[in-house]
C-alpha cells in the first residue's frame, strides 16, 4: 500500500469502516511508516475535538417537542373526525370553532387543559365556565346526536363533553395554585410537569410552592423537571430545608448539570451548614468543574478539603 492510499483510508480506519483485510494492510503499513502514523495521530486529535464540539440539546426541548407532537396528533385526529361528520351532514367545511386553537399556552395567566387532570380532580364550582358556542373545546368533545331540522334549516347537535375544560385565572389564585401543584406531580407527563414547575416559580413564595419544588427536585425521575425545580428554588436558597435538599442532590443526583447548578446555588450564600456534605462530595465527585467549585467553597469557609 502506498502512503497516499493509506492516508486516504485513515478516516475510515478510525470509523471502523474497513474490512478485516484492509485493516490488516493498513496496520502493517502504519507499523513501518512514521509519516502515516503522524497523520493518524493528527486525525485522532481532530476526532477528539469534533467529539467535544456539538452543543448538547437543551433538556426542555425534547419535552416541548413531545408535548407539541401529542397535541398536534390529537388535533389532526379531531379535525379528521369533525370534517368527516360535518361533511357527511351538510357538505360544509368545519366551522371555525371546531378548528383547534387551544393549547398554544399562556404567559402570565395559567391556562390548563384540565383533561390531563380530570380523572383525579374535581373543579371547585366557582372556577367553572359555562360552555357557550364559542368556547366549546374541540378535543374531548364527542357529538352524540345530530338532528337536522329541515323545516327551519337548523341543526341540533348534542355534544358529550367528557374530558377537557379550560379554566383561566391569575397565578395568585388559590384554585389555580392547587391545580398547578397537582399537575406538578402528574406521573404521566414530564412535559406538563416542566411547564407547571415553571409557572409555580412565578407564584408568590409560599411554603406549599417551596415544598412542591423541593419534592420535584429530589424525586422527579425526569432531569428536565428537576432542573426547572432547581431554578425555581433560587429565591429560597437561604432556607434550611432548601439547602439540605440541595446538598442531597449534590451528593446523589446522577446528572452533572444539576449537580453543577446545585453547587452554584449553595456557593452564593456562604454558610457553614454545608461543610460536611461538601467534604463528602470531594471524595466521590468526578466532575472537574464541580470539584473545583467545591474546593474553593471549602477554602472560603476555612474548612479542610478532606473529611475526617
Amino acid at each position: 500500500m502506498t502512503c497516499e492510499k493509506v492516508q486516504a483510508e485513515l478516516p475510515f480506519l478510525l470509523y471502523g469502516e474497513l474490512s478485516f483485510d484492509e485493516e490488516e494492510q493498513m496496520e502493517q503499513h502504519l507499523a513501518g511508516c512514521a509519516q502515516c502514523r503522524q497523520e493518524l495521530d493528527s486525525l485522532r486529535s481532530l476526532h477528539a475535538a469534533l467529539d467535544q464540539a456539538p452543543d448538547p440539546v437543551p433538556a426542555p426541548l425534547l419535552m416541548d417537542c413531545r408535548r407539541e407532537l401529542r397535541l398536534r396528533i390529537r388535533e389532526e385526529a379531531v379535525e379528521k373526525r369533525s370534517r368527516g361528520w360535518w361533511q357527511r351532514l351538510s357538505g360544509l367545511s368545519a366551522p371555525h370553532w371546531l378548528t383547534p386553537a387551544w393549547g398554544r399556552a399562556a404567559g402570565a395567566l395559567a391556562m390548563l387543559a384540565v383533561g390531563f387532570l380530570g380523572a383525579r380532580l374535581t373543579l371547585p364550582q366557582a372556577a367553572r365556565i359555562e360552555p357557550t358556542f364559542d368556547t366549546i373545546p374541540v378535543s374531548g368533545t364527542r357529538v352524540r346526536f345530530v338532528e337536522p331540522d329541515s323545516a327551519n334549516g337548523l341543526v341540533k347537535i348534542t355534544l358529550e363533553e367528557t374530558r377537557e375544560r379550560q379554566v383561566t385565572g391569575k397565578l395568585d389564585d388559590d384554585r389555580i395554585r392547587q391545580l398547578l401543584l397537582t399537575a406538578a406531580q402528574d406521573p404521566a407527563d414530564p412535559g406538563l410537569r416542566v411547564e407547571t414547575i415553571d409557572l409555580l416559580q412565578q407564584e408568590p413564595a409560599t411554603d406549599e410552592v417551596r415544598a412542591a419544588l423541593i419534592a420535584a427536585l429530589q424525586s422527579d425521575e425526569n432531569s428536565g423537571v428537576r432542573m426547572k425545580a432547581l431554578q425555581g428554588l433560587k429565591r429560597y436558597a437561604t432556607h434550611p430545608e432548601v439547602r439540605s435538599a440541595l446538598t442531597t442532590v449534590l451528593l446523589n443526583d446522577d446528572n452533572p448539570g444539576i449537580r453543577t447548578q446545585a453547587i452554584d446555588l449553595l456557593v452564593q450564600h456562604k454558610q457553614r451548614d454545608v461543610v460536611g456534605a461538601l467534604q463528602q462530595l470531594m471524595e466521590r465527585e468526578d466532575n472537574d468543574y464541580i470539584r473545583q467549585r467545591t474546593q474553593r467553597l471549602l477554602r472560603d469557609l476555612n474548612a479542610s478539603v478532606d473529611s475526617f
Binding site: A8, P11, F12, Y15, E17, S42, L43, S45, L46, H47, A48, A49, L50, Q52, A53, P54, D55, P56, V57, P58, L61, L62, D64, C65, R66, E68, L69, R70, R72, I73, E76, P256, G257, T260, Q261, N287, D288, Y289, I290, Q292
Partner: protein, 189 residues
C-alpha cells in the same frame, strides 16, 4: 413488545404504541436536527414535521427496510431541504454576511453549563464557534453524512441507504467533509 409488534400496533391506530415508538427514536432525531440546523426553533419544526409524517404515513410502511432507515429518510430529507433553502436565502440576500453576523448566531446557542477548567472551557468555546463556521462551509449532504457517521454512529452503508445512494458515495462525502474540517481546524488540533 418488540419493534415490529409496536409498529403493527401503531399501524392499527394504537396511539400508545405510536408514542412508544416515537420515544425510542426521537432523542436521536432531535439531536441530528439540532446539530445540523443549530437552532432550537428549526430542530423543533423538523421534529414535528417528521413525526407527523410518520404518523400519517405509517400505514404505508411495509417492512422492506428497517424502520430506522425509513424514519431517517424522512428526517434527512427535511433537514436537507431546510439547509438548502437556508443556503439559497443566504446567497440571494444582498447583505453580505459578515463574520460578526455569523458569530451572533452562534452566540445565541446556549452554552453548556458544565465544563472543565476555564482555559479548556474557553478553548472549547472558541473551537465550537469555529466548528460552526466550518460546518457552514460543508455542503448540506456532506454535513448530513458527517453528522450521521460521527455523532450518530451510523454505518456508511446505512447512511447510503437513508440518502438513497451507494455506500461508496457516502464514503466520498465523508472524506470530503473530513478534509475540509481538517484544513479549517488544523491549528486547533
Amino acid at each position: 413488545m418488540d419493534e415490529a409488534a409496536l409498529i403493527r400496533a401503531a399501524q392499527t391506530g394504537d396511539e400508545q404504541a405510536f408514542e412508544q415508538l416515537v420515544h425510542s427514536y426521537d432523542q436521536a432525531v432531535l439531536r441530528l436536527a439540532y446539530n445540523l440546523l443549530r437552532s432550537q426553533e428549526d430542530a423543533r419544526d423538523i421534529y414535528q414535521e417528521a413525526f407527523l409524517r410518520v404518523h400519517r404515513n405509517l400505514h404505508t410502511f411495509r417492512f422492506d427496510c428497517s424502520f430506522h432507515t425509513w424514519l431517517y429518510r424522512i428526517v434527512t430529507n427535511l433537514c436537507l431541504d431546510h439547509l438548502r433553502k437556508r443556503k439559497v436565502r443566504k446567497e440571494e440576500s444582498t447583505v453580505v454576511e459578515t463574520e460578526d453576523g455569523t458569530r451572533d448566531r452562534v452566540s445565541t446557542i446556549p452554552e453548556p453549563g458544565v465544563s472543565g477548567d476555564p482555559e479548556r472551557y474557553l478553548l472549547s468555546r472558541e473551537l465550537r464557534s469555529r466548528m460552526n463556521q466550518v460546518l457552514e462551509q460543508l455542503t448540506p449532504r456532506e454535513r448530513t453524512v458527517f453528522e450521521m457517521r460521527h455523532h450518530q454512529g451510523m454505518r456508511l452503508r446505512a447512511i447510503g441507504e437513508v440518502l438513497g445512494t451507494s455506500e461508496e458515495a457516502a464514503k466520498n462525502c465523508l472524506f470530503r467533509a473530513t478534509q475540509k474540517m481538517r484544513a479549517a481546524l488544523g491549528e486547533f488540533v
